[in-house]
């Protein structure tokens, strides 16, 4: 298999499947808007903008994976979930995707639902569930936070890439016959490599921020009063 950047462009997946996923993405984003408005205060608004800008910039760095002529890029779902929480985080990634599709032609407009589902919804949800779990299990040290960031970023990238495999299976415009397993394998393999890069960048960024300005890390803010954290139980519905 060859080159699959994460942004699905027009015509790769057929119309009905794209429409179903667009409706799904729209529903989830509506929920995120409702929830996110509660979170968004004076400290989170500029942070959300910066996280989105950071993801935007980082997504432009395409990782060439030399072995197969494949390239992919970072997603940023885990970073967003850690720094601004799952609701605003998913919105940040979605905004990046919308602007990229509208202005830069990266990812087809008609396929936005698919891209948002993979990267903003699946990626951020997987990351946040792992973050919520790992931050409770691991010690509250910079190393623990770093491991949390690394693992959640890695897993979220692979999960997002498998979202594409699912969508291609449901409505790919070309029948690959028995090659679907190959597609899944290639996507997982490539994005495992990308995930390692993503994990390292996410971990260094979040650990630095947590050391200097722990008040800016949403995940720590939400979990610190471990007994009363009201935000966390809601996270189960993030999928």
């Amino acid at each position: 298999m060859e080159t699959l950047a994460m942004h699905i462009s027009n015509g790769i997946v057929n119309g009905p499947v794209a429409a179903v996923f667009a409706a799904f993405a729209l529903a989830v984003l509506t929920l995120c808007v409702l929830r996110g408005q509660r979170d968004l205060d004076d400290r989170l608004a500029p942070m959300a903008g910066l996280v989105a800008a950071f993801i935007f910039a980082v997504q432009m760095l395409n990782f060439p994976v030399f072995t197969a002529g494949v390239s992919g890029h970072l997603l940023g779902g885990a970073l967003a979930a850690l720094l601004v929480g799952p609701w605003v985080g998913a919105l940040c990634v979605a905004v990046v995707l919308v602007v990229q599709a509208l202005v830069f032609g990266d990812g087809g407009v008609a396929m936005l639902g698919l891209n948002v589902t993979n990267m903003a919804v699946l990626g951020t949800a997987a990351a946040y569930l792992l973050i919520a779990l790992l931050l409770r299990v691991l010690p509250r040290t910079p190393a623990g936070l770093g491991v949390t960031a690394f693992v959640s970023a890695l897993v979220s990238v692979v999960v997002a890439s498998q979202g594409f495999v699912l969508q291609y299976w449901l409505g790919g415009t070309t029948d690959l016959g028995g090659n679907l397993a190959g597609l899944a394998g290639t996507m997982a393999g490539v994005h495992l490599l990308i995930g390692i890069g993503e994990g390292l960048i996410t971990a260094t960024t979040v650990v630095t921020v947590a050391k200097v300005r722990p008040d800016l890390v949403y995940a720590l803010r939400a979990l610190k009063p471990a007994a009363s954290a009201p935000v966390v139980p809601v996270a189960g519905g993030a999928r």
């Binding site: 060859e2 699959l4 959300a48 903008g49 800008a53 602007v99 008609a110 921020v209």
Partner: protein
């Protein structure tokens, strides 16, 4: 670094397309793309019609074909995927230049190249004729939730902050004897990425506070002032492109 700062893709001009309100252009672009995607892939003539339509708008907007094609290179990774399909696809095979290719794969590859390219060209035309500030205003007028436009505003604003901060840090590194080349630049970047984020945040926080103290309340002034919103006439003008595209798509669906 003032408001309404243009992005790299914006082409300064006063063409009729530039003067159309942004919400009209966004809506027209999205509808055009949907019409293209809905077209059956075997209706080859329809894609020619779409290409003519794009060329017409590009001519009106005074955007040159060379510029468009260079920028369209962004979809190259997917085009490579499309070229692999004739070899990987299942089903009926045809003989082309001595190679046994999958017919379904060939059509699928064509489908991706044609629809992908038309989509990229349409969005490039939008980018070339609309400033980022107008884009946000347009999204807001299209009833985009305020939290989304707010994130988008800050994202576009902070991109400049981020790039400027990265440049400062690079200059600081280089002037202290660091001489990064090729891949080793990445090492310096990775080691400093956390610091870059923090510095950009603190600078961005100052930008945000400055905006707040000048009366920013979560929306761009142009929106609540209501000036320059699209008139019915402008909507009609903008609707010509998606209407023609929808006509082509409907004919193509009816014929196949």
């Amino acid at each position: 670094m003032g408001a309404g700062h243009a992005h790299v893709l914006y082409r300064e001009s006063a063409s009729p397309v530039h003067r159309l309100p942004p919400e009209v252009k966004i809506a027209a672009m999205v509808l055009f793309t949907l019409a293209v995607v809905a077209t059956p892939r075997t209706a080859f003539w329809a894609f020619g019609g779409y290409a003519l339509l794009v060329a017409g708008v590009a001519g009106l907007a005074r955007v040159g074909p060379g510029w468009l094609l260079r920028r369209a290179a962004i979809e190259l990774p997917f085009v490579i995927f499309a070229f692999a399909l004739p070899f990987l696809g299942a089903g009926e095979r045809v003989e082309v230049a001595g190679l046994g290719l999958s017919l379904d794969g060939l059509l699928g590859g064509w489908n991706i190249v044609a629809k992908g390219t038309l989509g990229v060209l349409a969005s490039l035309l939008l980018a070339a004729t609309t400033t980022t500030r107008d884009l946000i205003v347009g999204l807001d007028r299209l009833r985009c939730p305020q939290i989304v436009t707010q994130i988008a505003t800050f994202m576009l604003r902070y991109l400049d902050v981020l790039v400027g901060e990265a440049r400062r840090m690079r200059v600081a590194r280089v002037s202290r004897g660091d001489d990064p080349r090729f891949l080793w630049q990445l090492r310096g970047f990775a080691a400093g990425v956390g610091a870059l984020f923090l510095r950009a945040y603190e600078r961005g926080e100052r930008v945000y506070l400055a905006m707040l103290s000048r009366g920013y309340s979560g929306r761009m002034p142009a929106v609540w002032q209501g000036a320059g919103a699209a008139t019915a006439g402008q909507w009609l003008v903008g609707a010509t492109v998606p209407l023609v595209a929808a006509g082509i798509a409907a004919t193509a669906v009816a014929l196949t």
